[in-house]
């Protein structure tokens, strides 16, 4: 494990577009955010992912200047802005409910930030036309927000937030109010747009698919604490604790104890599994001897015969149930000692997984992890 790289130094505050430095936020006596550190590079798309109440929106509002941090500093393009009012920060914020001004047309909504910056009429008109075109809203320019569909309103909110070339774009669950199909479509549009304008984005969501699809890096938040920050693939492959493992994708987590350490492998005893399990030393992320054994269902190999010793880890179990999912089936198995495991296999061999049939599961030490226990 490495030291936190997000701890800003004087150097990083000049190259990073956004820096959160040791942010704490308390509401009265209850903590909402605890020691939050994060640096976002120019042009980077970073997502804060977490369940509701995990403090992700609070961080976003602190960056936007809508709330004060109880302690800590926020830097924007190398400048400390912690006590600055929102209108001085030059930040584009897309609200969850869009917050479009109902008494202004689409064009007037988009013109608002330019008017507030006292931009000349001609320049403003040109900017508005450009942005309308980019977001395919030109034909709706004189409509009022209530005359638009959800997706169109979302685009107006987006256009309004980046028309003045803000130093960073903040989005608070911007797709949350849309229905599923539209959400998938807007997700794509959003990513395209971000890449075209090269915007630095801090995005907040509780939807893991959105986070995985959009982000350069994802920060997982839980109970006010940033659990892990990493690119999507790394986050999925190498979660550092059981909360991250369970929150992102499917995973099997079982209570486990570290009993030995032979230099190459960590040896753990897993509740409900006979024998010992070897975990790659690199995959040992628990400071404590007790933690959780974790593996993704697709990493198991399943067979009817006992695998040879080269497989390192193997456990015998019987099928408890299976769920047909079309291209795959999800097989639920149970060990003799009572641990419950799932495996995903191609559905072609459905008949092999009748309830009660016996199988061996095997996996390599590099496929499983030993994690800190975080609920």
């Amino acid at each position: 494990m490495t030291a936190p790289m997000t701890k800003p130094t004087t150097a990083s505050t000049t190259t990073d577009q956004v820096v959160f430095d040791g942010i704490h936020k308390w509401y009265g006596d209850s903590p909402a955010v605890h020691d939050f550190n994060l640096a976002i590079a120019k042009g980077e798309f970073v997502t804060l992912l977490g369940p509701s109440g995990s403090g992700k929106t609070t961080n976003l509002r602190i960056l936007a200047g809508l709330e004060s941090a109880t302690a800590g500093e926020v830097y924007l393009a190398g400048r400390a802005v912690t006590d600055e009012v929102p209108e001085k920060r030059n930040i584009g914020l897309v609200f969850q409910n869009y917050a479009l001004f109902p008494h202004m047309t689409v064009a007037q909504n988009i013109a608002f930030p330019l008017r507030m910056r006292r931009m000349k009429k001609d320049d403003a008109a040109r900017e508005i036309d450009r942005v309308l075109k980019m977001t395919q809203l030109t034909e709706f320019r004189d409509r009022y927000p209530r005359q638009l569909s959800g997706g169109q309103q979302q685009r107006v909110a987006l256009a309004r937030a980046f028309v003045f070339d803000p130093s960073v774009l903040l989005m608070d669950e911007p797709l949350g109010a849309l229905d599923r199909n539209l959400r998938d479509h807007m997700r794509l549009e959003l990513k395209n747009l971000q890449q075209r304008i090269g915007a630095t984005v801090l995005y907040v969501t509780h939807d893991q698919d959105e986070a995985l699809a959009l982000s350069d890096r994802i920060g997982v938040m839980h109970r006010g604490v940033l659990q892990q920050t990493a690119p999507p693939d790394e986050l999925y492959e190498e979660p550092v604790n059981s909360f991250v493992a369970k929150f992102l994708g499917q995973s099997i987590c079982l209570p486990a104890r570290r009993v030995d350490d032979d230099g190459r492998y960590t040896v753990v005893e897993v509740e409900g599994m006979a024998g010992r399990v070897l975990v790659d030393k690199d995959n040992d992320c628990s400071a404590d001897p007790t933690g959780e054994f974790m593996i993704r269902p697709e990493r198991f190999r399943i067979g009817s015969d006992k695998p040879d010793a080269a497989e390192r880890n193997a456990v015998s179990c019987t099928v408890a149930a299976h769920v047909y999912l079309g291209p795959q089936i999800e097989v639920h198995l149970r060990t003799a000692e009572g641990a419950e495991l799932q495996v995903v296999v191609p559905s072609a061999r459905r008949a092999d997984y009748d309830t009660g049939s016996a199988h061996w599961l095997s996996w390599a030490p590099g496929d499983c992890r030993f994690l800190a226990h975080v609920t």
């Binding site: 200047g65 009012v85 209108e87 930040i91 409910n97």
Partner: protein, 265 residues
Amino acid sequence: MALGLPVAFMAIVYAYPVGAMLLKSVTEPKPGFGNFRRAFTDDAIWDVLVITVRLSAEVALLTVVLGFPVAYFLSRTSKRKARFLVLLVIIPFWTSILVRSFSWIVLLGDNGLVTSILEPVTGDAQGMLYSESAVVIAMTHILLPFPILIIKGTLDQIDSSLPPAARSLGAGPLRAFAHVYLPLAVPAIVSSGMLVFVIALGFYVTPALVGGPKQSTIAVVIAQAVQVNFDWGMAAALATLLLVIATTLTMIVRRLTKVKGLVAL
């Protein structure tokens, strides 16, 4: 079928008396428009109309100016605090107009609280009772809950993320208020002001008790016409006139904005 009973009831005990009154304006004492002709050629009546309109306009303006900050505060403060503070608005609202007018007689009278507070400033131990200021102060007090509750109702509907949105887009506190908040509140401000104006036009108790002869409003003159002069025709004509003005203005208000939930106060 279920509507038959209420309609019949209203026809007999409401529509008939009002209709009969309207009729009297052109039949009493003899058929024709004599009463209206008399009213419109009488300078004293014109004076009364001018006073009534002026008083009502002053009261409408004051209630809106004083009511808006309160409504704004109530709509933005915490729910629990608002619930308590709204009681402070509603309790006076439910207190009899007569009692409140009486209280203002005490407060504004020669030894009243307001008079003694103002005495070092004005150097005047005499109360301001029976003056236009007295009537305006008392009527404003009585009608103030209307704009507060109506405007609050509208402000509560305004999306609370709009002001922060305006701020994040570069508007300072004043400009965020002027460009975003105020335009959304204007319909409620205008309609509640008009409503107060209409109600004030027909006010009787307060001008009669708190005001002097110079503050005779049209309602006071109508009452005098029947009680002092026994001039039913003139009373009916003036009441008809008041009804027409009030109805017209009410229709305009309802056309301008839908004032809802007035009754659910």
